[in-house]
């Protein structure tokens, strides 16, 4: 991926993410046999939020919300600029840091519990991400995203179980059911984002759109140099995640971590071991 394209994509990421989000709401509504909002609804929400009166708890908290946006944006650029895939994964922790510290910094139980759960999300999905990166390395022989995108090998054919594990962990990254424990609206009414409002909530909201691009780009990587297949995979992943989101109820955080550590990680490991066996 060339440098300019990376910059353009990064700058457009909120728009792309917003469109994905809008589409998602439509798709979800159709799955529930509803009409649903228009495609551009997230952007209408955006404008509405910008117009709200600014109410904050304290500046530190509000500032962390903005930094969450900046951090996520930066980590997306690290991903899209074609560098090391592990570095890109770990940069995501950096962006998470701001959201979590922001969530912790107010004395609201919902926010604190939400921030803690946000960390538990990370504990759940990060091993899968890192081991998927190791799998991509085994197939393509490189950690460089730009090289993976050029490689002739199509990773998904060698890593089917890793791909399945990755698909099943996507709800945790995107905070969707059954792994929406961090923002569980019915119990902790939004978790770490509850204390944000107006423009500052807008920042958190936009950062989430960027996270959509971030997560789905990883799916794209599973097709290696085959961009058409990559697009198909991404679309499939999108529909799959929404289907799961609609069809499941929320887990507890223990169930989430147990599912990731005892089901998904072994799934990845089995795939990697078979791959190593095949090579040897």
């Amino acid at each position: 991926m060339s440098g300019t394209l990376a910059i353009i994509l990064t700058i457009l990421a909120p728009v792309i993410g917003g469109l994905i989000y809008g589409l998602e709401r439509v798709v979800r509504a159709r799955m529930q046999n509803r009409q649903g909002p228009p495609l551009l609804q997230p952007f209408y929400d955006f404008l509405k939020l910008m117009d709200k009166r600014s109410i904050i708890v304290h500046s530190f908290h509000a500032f962390m919300g903005i930094m969450y946006l900046v951090g996520t944006w930066f980590s997306l650029y690290v991903l899209l600029s074609g560098g090391d895939i592990l570095i890109a994964i770990f940069f995501h922790v950096l962006s998470l840091a701001f959201l979590v510290i922001g969530g912790f910094s107010v004395r609201s139980p919902y926010s604190v519990v939400g921030a803690m759960r946000e960390l538990l999300h990370m504990v759940a999905y990060e091993p899968v991400f890192v081991m998927a990166a190791a799998g991509l390395y085994l197939v393509t022989g490189t950690f460089q995203i730009s090289e993976i995108l050029k490689s002739d090998a199509v990773p998904i054919f060698s890593l089917p179980l890793v791909f399945i594990a990755f698909l099943l962990t996507l709800p945790a990254v995107l905070k969707k059911s059954p792994f929406d424990i961090a923002e569980a609206h019915q119990e902790i009414i939004g978790g770490p984002e509850i204390e944000y409002s107006g423009k500052f909530y807008e920042a958190v909201y936009t950062a989430k759109w960027i996270e959509y691009v971030y997560a789905f780009f990883f799916v794209f990587l599973f097709a290696g140099g085959n961009y058409l297949l990559g697009a198909l995979l991404t679309v499939f992943a999108f529909f799959f995640v929404n289907l799961v989101d609609n069809a499941t109820a929320r887990f507890t955080f223990r169930q989430m971590i147990a599912f990731h550590w005892y089901v998904l990680v072994p799934l990845v490991v089995i795939n990697l071991m078979l791959l190593a066996l095949w090579r040897a």
Partner: protein, 619 residues
């Protein structure tokens, strides 16, 4: 050069004597201050010299070491009787028996007993800088604790530095045993320093656990002499790998695991927390536990790729995860730090036993940055204890309102252990990439799972603590920095600056400073290159703009956060759905993890035995 190395070993002893005798507090402080420039200068001199160096010693030194050995073991035996610890006495008696046996069968050896290579010089540098700064800090700390016994305390710390310098420069394993046990003695004296019941109990426990390590070394000597007729590190490393017996190496590895407080021997390091905080700082950063990765690095060229190395990787990787998990259940700040040391020591030994140049590089980076960061965190723990009365995480609530500098420093310390682009993170990244490279041989799959899982568990732990400190009531209405005593501020700032500069220039640091050490240990330098701030590895690269970007985000943000005030916004209280709740919120304590503690310990014991029996080839 012999004099310089002699100076590195003996000067701290002389300074210790001076500190012990000088009656005035200022005078003692001055001598302690001098240790930093003097030792650093000498260490740099060794670093720049032609290495490796073999140094022959006069015959009487050998006799002196033997006599010292017996005196030391006699002292241990006496301590066992005095404090009615049967175990200590029995172990001391066993050591006397084994040592006598070893001395009787030791063949004549013409290899020099002192061997200084880059690894030793690297350790000298860490001891000289990180260790001395802790001693300086200790002079102030003791001022607030117990001035009467300050001279004794600081003297032991300084002496410890000399012992450590000696321990990393010996070649003769019998001498190494003597010094290994001397560090045990030093830690024993330091832990029981307060002379209350709990200190003595913990000191005795530290003593017997470390004695087990000593016994393992004696067995290593016996088996090395029996199989190969040699008892020097360089001689063992020179033996052809095909004929080399793994038994002595297995025992050496066990002694390293004990010294490195790996489970199930982790309790001594936790018990050490009862001592004054500088003790913890020095045990965790510059001295004592660093012998463990040092020893594994010494033997890593010959154990690379063997069953022993694989079992060591599994054992230490297991500890990396398990210690992190147990740390989640802790409430005491120092205990959290202790568990995370145990955990990271596991990672250091894991990378050291992988043995490839990049893995060894990662191990050395970990040793360096862990020494700096752990020293920083322990000093901050001491400051919080003395100035803000906060020993437990729960007492640190809203600390950011009272002590912004302290919180910033602690956050930098924690961040540097988990988040890009700090040194420890780079080491972890290198480990992961090396491990994935080994996956293609299908052998090391456990290591990558353990490294990733352990990494996220530690991240969870650190954020949990930072979160409690960052909680605050409202706006900084009248913002001011806390006043720290000069020595506290000076010592901690040095560490913070070292962490930041080291992390920014990580590429240069790795190629110019660490890589020569790697070359001396493995025989081949790691295939890394630096250009500007960018670090190129055979697998991939981390760019300078990524490092700078992350540093800016991580460092400027918390600082700016104090000064940014959003005007034209309205302040409200937290929205809690209209519920009337108490505003004191605790944090997760993960009691669910303590339920699995017995299983973790059982598994750790099993892994220990497996490492020794199968890895050491005792079957």
């Amino acid at each position: 050069m012999e004099q310089v190395i002699g100076g590195l070993i003996l000067l701290p002893w002389l300074m210790a004597l001076a500190v012990f005798l000088i009656p005035s507090h200022r005078g003692r402080q001055l001598v302690t201050f001098l240790s930093l420039p003097v030792l650093t200068y000498l260490a740099c001199k060794v670093w720049n010299a032609e290495l490796p160096l073999f140094i022959h010693t006069p015959h009487w030194v050998e006799t002196a070491v033997t006599v010292f050995d017996y005196l030391l073991l006699g002292y241990f035996f006496y301590q066992g009787i005095k404090f009615r610890s049967f175990l200590v006495s029995v172990l001391a008696a066993a050591q006397v028996f084994l040592l006598t046996w070893a001395l009787m069968i030791l063949p004549e050896s013409y290899t020099a007993p002192i061997y200084v290579d880059r690894l030793s010089a690297f350790m000298y540098l860490i001891v000289a800088t990180v260790g001395s700064i802790i001693c300086i800090y200790a002079t102030k700390y003791m001022e607030q604790e117990n001035v009467d016994r300050e001279n004794r305390f600081v003297a032991i710390l300084l002496w410890f530095l000399g012992v450590m310098n000696f321990a990393v420069s010996v070649n003769n394993i019998e001498w190494f045993f003597a010094l290994f046990e001397t560090t045990t003695l030093a830690s024993y004296i330091l832990i029981r320093f307060r002379w209350d019941d709990i200190s003595i109990r913990n000191a005795i426990r530290a003593l017997w656990m470390n004695q087990v390590g000593g016994i393992a070394i004696l067995f290593a000597i016996l088996f090395a002499v029996k199989h190969h007729g040699v008892y020097n590190f360089t001689d063992i490393l020179a033996i052809d790998k095909k004929t080399l017996s793994m038994i002595p190496l297995g025992f050496l590895a066990i002694s390293a695991l004990v010294k490195g407080a790996q489970m199930p021997f982790h309790r001594w390091l936790l018990g050490a927390m009862v001592a004054p905080t500088p003790v913890s700082a020095i045990l965790h950063s510059a001295t004592m536990v660093k012998i463990a990765p040092y020893l594994i690095l010494r033997i890593s060229p010959v154990i690379k790729g063997t069953l022993l190395a694989k079992l060591l990787i599994t054992t230490t990787g297991f500890v990396f995860v398990a210690a992190g998990l147990l740390a989640l259940t802790q409430d005491n700040f120092k205990k959290i730090l202790a568990y995370s040391t145990i955990s990271l020591l596991g990672l250091m030994m894991l990378t050291a036993s992988m043995g490839s140049p990049i893995a060894v590089l990662a191990s050395l980076l970990l040793i360096l940055f862990h020494a700096i960061v752990k020293a920083l965190l322990f000093l901050e723990a001491g400051i919080m204890e003395k100035l803000f009365n906060a020993k437990y995480v729960e007492q640190m609530r809203q600390l950011v309102e009272k002590a912004p500098i302290t919180v910033l420093f602690i956050s930098i310390g924690f961040m540097s252990m988990t988040i890009v682009p700090f040194g420890i993170f780079i080491a972890k990244w290198l480990t992961l990439e090396t491990a994935s490279n080994l996956l293609s041989h299908g052998a090391y799959i456990a290591s990558i799972i353990l490294v990733t899982v352990g990494g996220v568990v530690l991240t969870l732990l650190y954020f949990k603590v930072i979160g409690v400190m960052a909680r605050k009531r409202g706006e900084f209405s009248h913002f001011r920095l806390e006043k720290l005593p000069f020595i506290y501020f000076f010592t901690t700032t040095l560490y913070v600056v070292a962490t930041m500069v080291g992390s920014i220039y990580i590429a240069r640091l790795s190629t110019d400073f660490i890589n020569p050490v790697v070359k001396d240990i493995v025989g081949a330098a790691a295939q890394i290159k630096a250009s500007g701030l960018t670090l190129y590895t055979p697998f991939s690269e981390i760019y300078g703009w990524q490092i700078i970007g992350a540093i800016v985000l991580l460092l400027l943000v918390p600082i700016l956060a104090y000064f940014i005030h959003f005007r034209n916004t309205d302040r409200v209280y937290e929205y809690t759905c209209g519920e009337n709740i108490e505003m004191t919120i605790g944090t997760y304590d993960f009691f669910c993890v303590s339920k699995i503690e017995p299983f973790i310990e059982t598994a750790a014991v099993a892994l220990f035995i497996m490492t020794l029996v199968f890895g050491g080839g005792l079957v």
